[in-house]
């Protein structure tokens, strides 16, 4: 990271039929960073990514991507960006190899054959290269799409929920690969709904209802939001949750596996609430640090309140 911005946009605004979908959005992504892009469904992540790579024209705002103007020079931007769409958008009636070869041709790549074979090898799909893309399972489609968007060795990857429906092992492999790319200076902007992926990002932008709520290094986010949390275990978690919910100071109760997490911004009020349930039979409580998931659930809840 040398301070140079690969994406630097300001004031991006997009309306669909009068409805503001992305509102005054700004983002700076330094070279080599893995930037997480989070937000609830319909918050405008896909729309923002499309504006950055020139697939949608912003109604307002300006900026650069790879040093090129996002409004004027989208053709040049597209040559150096790998964009993976949220929805599978390769040709279902073409084979895996044909799809990769076709994409390579679109970018007018030299030594196409070698690249396609290499991509097939990396994917571990060499043996099934002739299978039709439409007959792949969901996770394999995602992996094929990822391979296709990387075939021209882009400097910037824009990945829109690249691991939705991908199994845990493949997701890990995928993230190892992203980090390897980052080490070589490839920048990644990735949207995701998985918190275990979010924590792997250097920095996270969180967007809700088209507005950016948080944009900070991942490690600093808990400190910025200042959410306090307790972990509660009990034989009858439902009863405990019912008691806690609606208690002043408890802004959020959420199940995490076999435990319940109770969170609030006001530490004293939260502690007081936890004290009430402490004496219920079999209840154990431990103070913990709020994780990203609690923080984002909390942010989503807050942003709905603010807009209603």
């Amino acid at each position: 990271m040398n301070g140079e911005s690969v994406i630097d946009v300001r004031g991006l605004t997009k309306r669909f039929g009068g409805r503001v979908v992305v509102d005054d959005f700004a983002l700076r992504v330094p070279r080599g960073a893995i930037y997480g892009f989070l937000g609830p469904n319909g918050s405008g992540k896909t729309t923002t990514i499309r504006m950055v790579c020139g697939l949608l024209r912003p109604d307002e705002g300006e900026g650069t991507c790879l040093g090129l103007d996002v409004r004027q020079e989208s053709a040049l931007i597209k040559e150096r960006v790998g964009y993976m769409t949220q929805r599978f958008s390769l040709y279902e009636d073409m084979s895996i190899r044909e799809n990769l070869d076709f994409v390579a041709r679109l970018y007018a790549l030299p030594d196409r054959r070698r690249r396609v074979e290499a991509a097939l090898g990396d994917l571990g799909l060499s043996g099934r290269a002739e299978q039709l893309a439409g007959t792949l399972s969901g996770g394999w489609k995602q992996r094929l799409a990822l391979a296709a968007c990387m075939i021209h060795e882009p400097e910037l990857l824009l990945l829109d929920e690249p691991t939705a429906g991908v199994d845990p092992k493949a997701r890990r492999d995928f993230w190892d690969q992203i980090r390897a790319y980052a080490a070589h200076g490839v920048t990644t902007l990735v949207s995701t709904h998985y918190m275990d992926e979010a924590v792997q990002c250097d920095q996270i932008a969180f967007i809700a209802y088209g507005r950016k709520l948080i944009d900070a290094p991942t490690r600093e986010i808990p400190g910025i939001v200042g959410l306090h949390a307790w972990r509660v275990t009990a034989p009858d978690l439902d009863a405990v949750q019912a008691r806690l919910r609606g208690h002043p100071g408890v802004e959020l109760t959420a199940r995490f596996g076999a435990d319940l997490h109770a969170c609030g911004l006001d530490r004293e009020a939260l502690d007081a609430a936890v004290a009430v349930i402490r004496d219920m039979p079999g209840v154990e409580v431990t103070r913990i640090e709020a994780g990203l998931e609690e923080i984002f659930i909390h942010l989503m809840a807050q942003s709905t309140d603010a807009l209603q």
């Binding site: 697939l55 949608l56 053709a75 597209k78 964009y83 599978f88 958008s89």
Partner: protein, 358 residues
């Protein structure tokens, strides 16, 4: 239905369009057909005949020429449907009772178009000559007509409808498949999301357009060969004109249809809509181009619409090259408008091209 306004609009527009076209534009007994009279003699009888023709609603006299052979080019080029020839010496021979001939040459490349008017010709002649067959000429009026009307069906002597239909079918088939295939194939790209992949690559609009349409040019070429071969083998349609000229016409026509399909795909949101809009183009093409119903029989506004349709010009090019033996010069007056339509459609398509997903 409420969500799909375009489908709704088309479902309302279709019947309206059909009512208008069938009710007002189409006429199976065409009148006011362009006629050239080759009047090689000037006298009271011939003038009466000319006046009689002028009065009739079947013939619209667009020119009167004087010398032998002058009228031929009009009919060959398709600017006139009829050529009526009154030979020299007509009056004297009529008076002498030699039963001179009046030649009516009809462009029978569309046999239906000429039918009604030919039937009316005898009656027109009888009425125009009758008042003059008085005095010394009275005996002539009593017997069979003192003249002979000879009808010459040009380009299709046996009045075979297949001669007209089969070459025309080539245009209809090309319109149907080219417009529909391209519009649907392209709309499918948007529907399936693959257009997003294409647009995210550095491809230029023209490249996407060319890449998406060229395969269908081959399809069109195959269909052309198929129809021409079938026409020759099954229906014995003679091919008398310049093959190069025909190919040129086919080429421009295919491109024009591809552009039309392309344009539709920029408006249609779904494949279903693309299909419906294709029919919206197809219906007037069939009805107003002169394929199903005689072009000259339509009111002026329908002819205007017809002139803007690529199929109209293509049909004329096909008929003129296949049936009338035309070469490049013979079809120039249809090649030029066809080319103009192509240019207009291409510019529109370029303008409408969606560089983004907006």
């Amino acid at each position: 239905m409420r969500r799909d306004r375009l489908t709704f609009a088309i479902m309302v527009m279709m019947p309206v369009l059909q009512l208008l076209l069938f009710g007002y534009a189409i006429n199976n007994d065409p009148r006011h057909l362009a006629t050239v009279v080759e009047l090689r003699e000037d006298g009271p009888l011939t003038r009466a005949f000319l006046a009689g023709l002028r009065l009739s609603s079947y013939f619209d006299i667009i020119a009167v020429v004087r010398y032998e052979g002058e009228g031929d080019q009009w009919i060959r080029s398709g600017s006139a449907t009829f050529l009526i020839v009154v030979p020299e010496g007509f009056e004297t021979r009529l008076v002498r009772g030699e039963r001179p001939q009046i030649l009516i040459a009809a462009d029978a490349s569309d046999p239906v178009a000429a039918g009604g008017a030919l039937g009316a010709a005898n009656e027109i002649a009888r009425r125009s000559f009758a008042p003059l067959l008085v005095g010394p000429l009275l005996p002539l009026a009593t017997k069979a007509p003192p003249y002979d009307i000879v009808i010459h069906r040009r380009f299709n002597p046996a009045a075979e409808t297949s001669f007209n239909i089969v070459p025309g079918l080539l245009g209809v088939i090309l319109t149907m498949t080219m417009v529909m295939i391209t519009s649907i194939a392209l709309t499918r790209e948007f529907e399936r999301g693959t257009m997003e992949t294409l647009l995210a690559t550095p491809l230029r609009p023209a490249e996407v357009m060319i890449g998406k349409t060229t395969p269908y040019i081959l399809v069109g070429a195959m269909q052309t060969v198929l129809v021409l071969v079938a026409g020759a083998l099954l229906f014995q349609i003679p091919f008398s004109g310049s093959f190069d000229a025909l190919l040129m016409g086919v080429g421009i026509f295919i491109f024009a249809n591809l552009m039309l399909g392309y344009l539709i795909s920029t408006v249609a949101r779904t494949q279903m809509q693309a299909m419906q809009m294709t029919f919206f183009v197809f219906l007037p093409s069939i009805l107003l181009s002169g394929f199903m119903f005689p072009f000259r029989a339509m009111p002026w506004w329908a002819q205007m619409i017809g002139e803007a349709l690529p199929l109209t010009h293509f049909l004329r090019i096909v008929r003129e090259t296949i049936l009338k033996g035309a070469s490049f010069s013979g079809i120039a007056d249809d090649l030029v408008p066809l080319l103009a339509i192509l240019v207009a459609l291409t510019s529109l398509a370029m303008m409408r091209f969606r560089r983004t997903l907006d």
